[in-house]
Symmetry: C2
Subunit: 271 residues, 2 copies
Amino acid sequence: MARVQRDGGDDSAPTTELPAVRGQGPPAVNGRANGRGAPIPADKARVIPEAAVARLAVYLRVLSGMAEQGAVTVSSEELATAAGVNSAKLRKDISYIGTYGTRGVGYEVDVLTSEIERVLGLTRQQKVAVVGIGNLGHALANYGGFPGRGFPVEALFDVDPDLIGIPVGGLPVNHIDDIPDICATRAIAIGVIATPPTAAQAVCDRLVEGGVHCVLNFAPVVLGVPEHVEVRKVDLAIELQILSFHVARNAEQRASRRTAAARASSNGEVV
Amino acid sequence: MARVQRDGGDDSAPTTELPAVRGQGPPAVNGRANGRGAPIPADKARVIPEAAVARLAVYLRVLSGMAEQGAVTVSSEELATAAGVNSAKLRKDISYIGTYGTRGVGYEVDVLTSEIERVLGLTRQQKVAVVGIGNLGHALANYGGFPGRGFPVEALFDVDPDLIGIPVGGLPVNHIDDIPDICATRAIAIGVIATPPTAAQAVCDRLVEGGVHCVLNFAPVVLGVPEHVEVRKVDLAIELQILSFHVARNAEQRASRRTAAARASSNGEVV
DNA sequence: CGGATTTTGTGCACGCATTCACAAGCGGCT
DNA sequence: AGCCGCTTGTGAATGCGTGCACAAAATCCG
């Protein structure tokens, strides 16, 4: 079976290759002479752990906040605490994409920002299509965070004939039968599925048909896709269930602490 | 610093304890005699990896779909492919919560369902409050998937005076200043933060003040919380950026394949 | 009743990710 | 110029999660 899906809540095992030139041919000139701040040694480890990619995106957001406040340089320690991680981990994450720091000083905010953007492919805008204009789809279509971060929403789709043609967030809704055509002609890079679970697989197939290689799936189903297509899943119910597990666990712990305390006090012990 | 946050997109390292009795005291009678289908050996490994918890929730959803179609038993293989995972991993995940399978047959759908529900703390309803009734908050308040899965939304909050008192999804919106009181009196278990990033920390502090121990955070900020509070994060922009990384990587791969092919063909080689 | 068949449960090994600890490197100060 | 303090970058170690492969168990059938 060539259908795989990477769970959005499980960024552990598989590593992904860094977008660097691959062939063993002539050492690709990287535009900039290999002085200080090289993209990467060009022959060394060419993989970025998936987990590191997720954190790089977090660093990027923290960095943009720091830049707004006029920061010019950051130490790994500052950036790490702001991002909620260990400083060693942060340095290792950054080392995956190159060496841009200055020892004894830290990182230049703007340099680091643009390098992370480069690796994450944010230098060019990634066009997004949203399928399923229900509650969530409406929210996503109107969500300001997407275009503001280089992800312009350029197409909307739904089955409901009452919605077709109605503009949502300044963009008319198209019928899902037009997904392949419109995605192909508008060069949609990322498809967001916010449909009911029953419709998700069919919608996904049409997106793939339209040349979309990356899918963000909000429907609670496991999507089957060809091997070259990347799926990330966001399942709100599952997030709540994970939290529920922690609620239950904490309740148990408190309960067992109570019984332990009760037993201890009935024995005259001091806790 | 005693403030930690578990990233929703990174469920790898830390393990969490199973909600089992902890003390080394008299072997707790589990209500059911320790015949077939014991919760767990009561002295063996008492931890469920966080990643396994997330998958258990997925199995639960798949199981409920199978139950609707009248299935009585499932093999690990069936369930695994339906959930998009390896069958060995599935069996190991289930073994964390006990031994409920029958060798040569499989698992009873209803037994497995109720046991997973028990471990995930879904036997009792977890009340949810949604803070920030913007686009996303509206969607969450109206989202049918929550109450249908044991997560009734029981309180809504916002700052906007125009929204206070307006019913959204059948529930009136309260002011965020009332978060501590209302959460405490209604015994809210889980708080969902769908506010702008600037307001998120203050809202979170008030939720904690109201006795909420678990938070689902949609705002793109790292929340600081006391140690006993569990935070999960869902950041849509970061999900897109991770996909963007894969778009870029694939583009690079294709480009390098093209150059390789071009080089090969210019050399007269056959690819 | 015994063997064949099926499927669970798990010991074991491998690989990835995280963390530690330190050498290398840079800037500033005397 | 040379030393000192600070911070990066990374080798090495540890721990966790995953997947394999097989023994144990249960059912079915002859």
